[in-house]
């Protein structure tokens, strides 16, 4: 990593090249690099390294596959409104195969993919958008006569890195939701190995770009959590950075859409917001470069947990979420908390009366036992006496 001043000292000429190549003023280019470095949570000065990596014009080949999806992830990426971002998407990387964006069609397109794979063997980045059906040998999704599972295996074999963009590619997303008639799964499960995932429906384009630029800058993909999500973007719960969090802590909730609380921007937890169990940076990054609060919760709709497996598309939208971080609220136990009530005099007297009765009964019982024993003994003695008497009587008779 270098210093920002290094860019001006060592690579003024390359920056001019960049200006020409990207048709982007130097200032905007550096702003873009700083934005990405900040998204990744890199320290100050890292933008220099990012800038150097981009200006080096390595332009890694990217193959982008579409399977069971809605192309929303691609649309989201195209609508990243940072000035001339589309230039960067196309020029920072060499997008050799992308069904939505490429000019080629039919066999020509497939040939382009094969050429790119051969020319950049072991060096290209594979991006997968959409779930992969496995049921009935994967016949429910075919491109150019090949099934999705065959294509993803073929392309992943020689890829330097595999990135699954969107929830569908990450774990199956909406296509995999029950009853899942096509047996859809995510890329990691289809390939049988972990991949970097950028879940979301759609994901924030900057999370994807930052992951790619991390790969360009450092030669490896960013650190990920156990679900393969980059930690810089998915390291915290939405609930932790939510602008409505203060309302949650204070117990102020919107109870229904359009009520007084909803109009005042109260917490949407009781409307089913999944922020407390969903990891994503939506509240800090926002969508569409339109300024703060431009994300579902900011607009007044509860989070549906689209980036969280088992939450998004699976739990009903208005079902109340499980709060994963139940940190203490602003309420305090008293110095001495009453735990149940002490016995009143009446109840104590009642208990004492019952206990006394029981004790008396026990004494009487023991005594009676002794008495009955004595009576039995007496009876026995009498019985034997009678028997003796009667036998004597018999003898007399």
């Amino acid at each position: 990593m270098g210093n920002i001043s290094e860019i001006f000292e060592t690579s003024r000429e390359t920056l001019h090249d960049i200006e020409r190549r990207l048709e982007m003023p130097r200032r905007e280019f550096l702003q873009f690099c700083a934005t990405l470095a900040a998204t990744m949570g890199l320290p100050a000065g890292a933008e220099a390294a990012v800038a150097k990596a981009i200006e080096a014009a390595k332009r890694p080949s990217v193959i982008w596959l579409h399977f069971q999806e809605c192309t929303g992830c691609t649309e989201s990426l195209l609508r990243a409104e940072h000035p001339t971002l589309e230039k960067l998407i196309l020029d920072v990387i060499s997008l050799d195969y992308h069904e939505t964006l490429m000019a080629a069609a039919g066999h020509q397109a497939e040939a382009a993919r094969k050429d790119a794979m051969k020319a950049n063997k072991g060096k290209y980045v594979l991006v997968v958008e959409g779930a992969i059906p496995l049921k009935d040998k994967g016949i429910y999704c075919k491109v150019g006569g090949h099934t999705a599972i065959d294509l993803v295996k073929e392309c992943a074999a020689d890829a330097a890195a595999v990135i699954a963009i969107g929830s569908c590619a990450a774990w199956g997303g909406m296509p995999s939701t029950g009853p899942n008639p096509s047996g859809s799964v995510g890329v990691a499960e289809a390939l049988g190995k972990p991949v970097v995932t950028i879940p979301g429906c759609p994901p924030n384009p900057y999370n994807f770009l930052a992951a790619v630029v991390h790969f360009l800058t450092f030669g490896k993909l960013p650190e990920v959590d156990k679900l393969g999500r980059p930690k810089f973007a998915y390291g915290r719960l939405i609930h932790e950075n939510c602008e409505r969090r203060a309302h949650f802590d204070a117990g102020r909730f919107a109870m229904e859409f359009g009520d007084a609380g909803h109009r005042q921007g109260y917490c949407l937890y009781k409307l089913g917001c999944k922020g407390p169990e969903t990891y994503a940076n939506c509240p800090t990054l926002g969508f569409g470069d339109a300024g703060e609060n431009n994300w579902p919760v900011g607009c007044g709709h509860p989070c549906i947990g689209c980036s969280e497996k088992g939450v998004g598309f699976e739990k009903p939208i208005h079902q109340v979420a499980k709060v994963l971080n139940a940190v203490p609220p602003q309420q305090y136990p008293r110095i001495v908390e009453e735990q149940g009530k002490a016995a009143s005099i009446a109840s104590a007297a009642a208990v004492a009366a019952v206990a006394g009765a029981a004790a008396g009964a026990a004494i009487m019982l023991t005594r009676n036992l002794g008495l009955s024993h004595a009576a039995e003994e007496a009876e026995r003695a009498k019985g034997t006496g009678d028997a003796g008497k009667s036998s004597a009587d018999k003898a007399q008779v």
Binding site: V323, A326, V327, R334, I335, E337, Q339
Partner: protein, 327 residues
Amino acid sequence: MSTRRDFLKGALASGAAVTACVAAVPAAARETRPRPPEALGLLYDATLCVGCKACVAACKEANNNPPEFSTVDHLWDTPLDTSGYTFNIIKMYRNGTMEVKDQEKNGYAFMKTSCMHCGDPSCVSACPVSAMTKDPVTGVVGYNPDKCIGCRYCVAACPFGIPKYQYDSPTGRIGKCELCRHRTKDGHYSACAEVCPTGATLYGKTSDLLAEAKRRIALKPGTRTTYPRGKVGGPDQSYEAPVGNYLQHVYGEKEYGGTQVLKLSGVNFAKVGMPDLPPDAAAALSETIQHTLYANLIMPFAVLGAMTWVAKRNVKPDDESSDKEGS
């Protein structure tokens, strides 16, 4: 058969035996044990506490404890007291209009409730196995679930009500603060002190903490002074703040023979839940009595002998009655 003479002889003999055993072990009487010289502890300064409960959350996380709920909505971790799953809690004293912090009338104050790590802990004394132990160097009162038999004597013995049992679990354990001794190997210290934003909970050697506490109460209320944060002797995180209106009392300096966790407050300690305790540990007295009675097992043998003798004396030979019946 038995005479008064015999009874008196027996009584005399057992009395002599008791006297002999008591006389033989005068050394069993023990003094309250002081804190080890290198004892570790905490200093909680209620006047610095802002009631953020970061320490409660950090404690839960450090000890991997689940949240406990006391509200209708199970949204927040809201324990009402320490429990088998809550080792540290911030409680609040409230009076009247609650206008002024650390004021007894019409005021409020916070108080941390967690293990005091006594110099001579009752829980360790009461434990019939060696599940509760006091580290000879750090003085940390630790708990070993593998040795625990679940008798809960420690729960009953503690004057601060700290060790708590996990009653809801069929394989319950005792839960209590162990001063994050499991975190020291990673270079960490008590999580509560590590996260405290104002230094209200400070970690360090008890001797250092006691000196710091005495420095604080000697200052004039309202003047400004430097308060360390985190750990005494650790990296400097100190900041300047006005001196609180302290009571001239360091709780834990002398209570119960001295505890390793010390407390400062502006409100009477008894009112914020810290019991008024004598300067001697209960363990010293109870152990003196117990160890005297059981020294070399003389007392049990003497009592058993006396009881055997009395029993023998009262038993009538069985054949006597059978002879009677036979006749």
